[in-house]
Amino acid sequence: MLKKIKKMTVGLAFVLAACVTVNIYFPAAAIQKAADQIVNDVRGTQDEEKPQGNENKSSRSFDGFKGLSIGPRHAYAQINIEVSTPAIRNLKQAMKNRFPSLKPFYDRGNIGENNVGLIEVRDAAALGLKEKADVARFADQENKDRRSLYSEIIEANKLRPESLPQVQKLFANSWRAKSQANWWVQNDNGGWEKKK
């Protein structure tokens, strides 16, 4: 009887080990990596620090648990996020060209990075009228380009349109994480704080 049970257990283990399902999930890690690369390109920064956003944390911890899972193994398709279509190249270049104009406003705390991957004009009270118009125009153009960029990434990588908020969130992680000290960033709870 005991032998039978042992055989059945071993057999079951083989069956379980043989069950491999290939699932394609939302490629959070790959998009995060692409976002880091784009932000580096736009701002001319180096990849020294890792994004700290909750979305990223959760996705990374989720990846870790996958390795420990017991039972039928799920193979996760390696998705290469394309970040170099003509639209993406031009959008990146436009943002890169615009960044020197935006930087003084970041430095002075007039604008900040919100938690959905966009720029927000926070406090323009101390600016002259021309600077107010400039910051409004730059922020508007930047946000228009960012929205186009996120849509292009979804389209180029054949992701579902509903994944736009997730893409924005991942980019928000990168924009915020790669912000300079004393720039304003919006945390995931909606509060604004100075980057340390």
Binding site: E82, S84, T85, P86, A87, R89, N90, L91, A94, A124, A125, G128, L129, K130, K132, A133, D134, A136, R137, D140, S148, A156, N157
Partner: protein, 883 residues
Amino acid sequence: MKNKKAIFAGVALACMCVMATGLFILIREPFCIRKAGAIVEQFFGYRINADRITLSPALKAEITGLSIAGPKGGGAVFMSSQANIESSFAGALRGEVEKIILREPKIQIKLGKRKGSSSDLSFIKKLPAVDLVEVRKGELRLFLDSSPYEMSIKDISLDVRRFSPTKGGRIAFQGTVNVAGGKNSYPTVQGFFRGDFNLTRLFPTPIGLGVLEATVGSGVFSAGVVKKGALVVRAKLEDERILITEAALSADSLDVGKGEKRSGLKNVTVRTDFTYETKSRRVYANHLKGEIPGVGVFEGSGKGVLRHDYPWQAAIEAKDINFAGLFAALGPFVAERQGEEWSVRGQGALKTELEGTMAGRVPGARGRASLQLKKGEFASKDGTKAGQGIDGEIVVQFRFPFSENGTKDINAFLSLSPGECLWGKYYSDLRKVKAKASSMVDLRITGKDRRVDFNGTANLFDTGDYLYRGSIDRDGWRLFVDLKDISNKKVFLVFLSEYLGQVDPLLKGAEVGGRLDAEINSEVRPDGLKLTGSVSARDAFFWVPEKSLFIDQVNISLPLNLSSRLTDHGVLREEKTETGAMGIKTFQGGPIELKDMEIPLRVSENLLWIPNAIDIPFFGGYIKILSYKVADLLSPTRRFYVTAGLQNVDLGAFMRELTGLHFPATMDARFPMIVYQDGKWITEGKTSVKIFGGEVELSNFYAQEIFAASRKVGGDIAFRDINLGSITQTIKIGRITGVVEGAVRGLEIEYGQPSRFVLDIDSVRKPGVKQNVSVDAIENIAILGTGSGGVGMVLKSGLNRFFKEYPYSRIGIRCTLENDTFHIRGKILEGKQEYLVRRGLLRGIDIINRDPDNTISFLDMQERIGRVFEDRKKNEDPLVGVN
């Protein structure tokens, strides 16, 4: 006889004493008091009660529990716990009272609705002289018949000394005031008053000096709250005039407004003098001065006559108004939506002169007010809309009858030297503009509905003549605008040049010229907007040097007939058709030049179209616009429909200008329907172009944001019977002969670069058409396919150098571009080989794809194409072999 008289006098005196004694005794009896009260009530209507009356032979009387009520219990009620009356014997004989002392008297008065009663004060002269009247702890309560308000004056102390109707006397009084409404009713006031008057005569007119002080600890009114308010009046009563030598009104805190909007004024003061001449009934105040800290100081004067038509005149001047403070004070009274509040700052001066009548045939006011503004600023709450450095002047003349139905006339002149202006992303520094903006407007307000009619002229920085008129009533508004001889150049320089340069650096240096005239009637009613009139432009031009765009001698006559009220949008109404025209002498946009365009236009409700086909000369041929229609002009989803064609266009000249390449062909094309909607141009049907001996057919063509850098163009292209010889004569990649067909499917071009497509090219055998490929073409194809041009060296060495061309039997190529990755695959599969080009039967050349998974990035492909069209380095070593 003498004795008899003496006895009679003694008896009479004794009887009188007995009677007096009897009266003294009887009157103290409650029965008698009640009986006497009943008699008085019967004859006079007043009910008088007293608990006890004590009469002293020394001419002293003491009454306790005295109460006097008005007829039928209404009107006034007087009660006093104790009243003492004293007089000396001699004074009594003179009808004088020495002392009247009232303790805790209480008076209640209920005021009814009766109006117009005149006061007869002649009773004053009948009052007895009193040496001293004292009232202690008195109380007066006033009720209003028609409202819940009640005013009570408590702790009243009143001292009247040496009172005589003819010689006056001194009167001093004080008390605390409390005004209270019902539940949640206003006003509620707590205060204190004090007065001291020294009169030398009381009747017929009082004469003397006095002071009245009233303080309000707190007062809550429906309009606001007053804290620590004070009124001090110093009066001088003369024989024929009453002088208020000083009336000072002040409030530590005056908080007016509605809801959370409060003015929060502090330390408000107003001082004035005042004179009333009793004979002439003239009133005047020569020195009125008020100060509202944070707002400014105002001074004024006024005069009037209190009879006949009650004419009056007043003047107020404020030399240094702080508009920030003024706007904050007035803010609670300005209707603004939550989040749309505005702030105003600046210094200014106000001068008003008013006059009018309070009665007569047409009582009302008329006057003139001028307001000067310096360094004015305004800003929305979020700061996205603002202006600063604004200097200006408003002069208003008006005539306001007081009657509700009277017509109110206002004439206003406004002159502004604007400074900087911010409106969202729009910014303009108008300080650079030397001219001013001004407007003169006449307004008339009539009827109970307060219909406003207005007409005026305006000068906007000397850009032309502007006239306007219109009306506003409860059903909507109408506005007619007449623009005459407007300088496009000045309008562009003042309002647009700077802004466009900020938005797009390529628009810096743009110039606009010509003149504009327009007559526009607009009418807004609850069911929508209607716009009619006409716009005409003369000799207009538009030049953008950075974009090499030049449009010259534009003449437009465009009728307007737009309405958002229509439900049958897009339906042509022949009976309402109006005619216009547009002429452009020169259009030059980069290499494209159009000349002498004359385009007739027709306009009906919300529709604009051209009535017949027009030919626009274009590179030796014509662009034929067969039909053009714009529907739903007022709607954001307006649609354009165009049917057009090209006829005998010299493609060679056109492409040479456009690309530098020469295509020796004429082009004929027909675009059956091009539709524009929601920012996207879409072709319906198929468009065919005859070129290179064959036909190219475009379908599903679309274009988005065609004038933006992010423009997107796409569609499908099919081509048939294309002569490769003709193409390779034009595109110098080496000579190839033969005929091909194929298609470009899913073509998408973004930012001027292809982002995806699938291209199929297949050769087609045609009798009498050779299929050869030159060495140069092979070399170039190898560069495109492999990145190396070394094969050319192989073909140009040894025996191969004697052959300039090689025959081929078939070409089959598929190129795909997706996600910036470019693939080239051969479509000819024989054995295990994948051929792009298959050689001829006996001789020729094969091009084989040895690495089917080979992909290159689009940037690499761009680099390879660049190498094809540039001189390659000589003596380059071959890197690939040739079959």
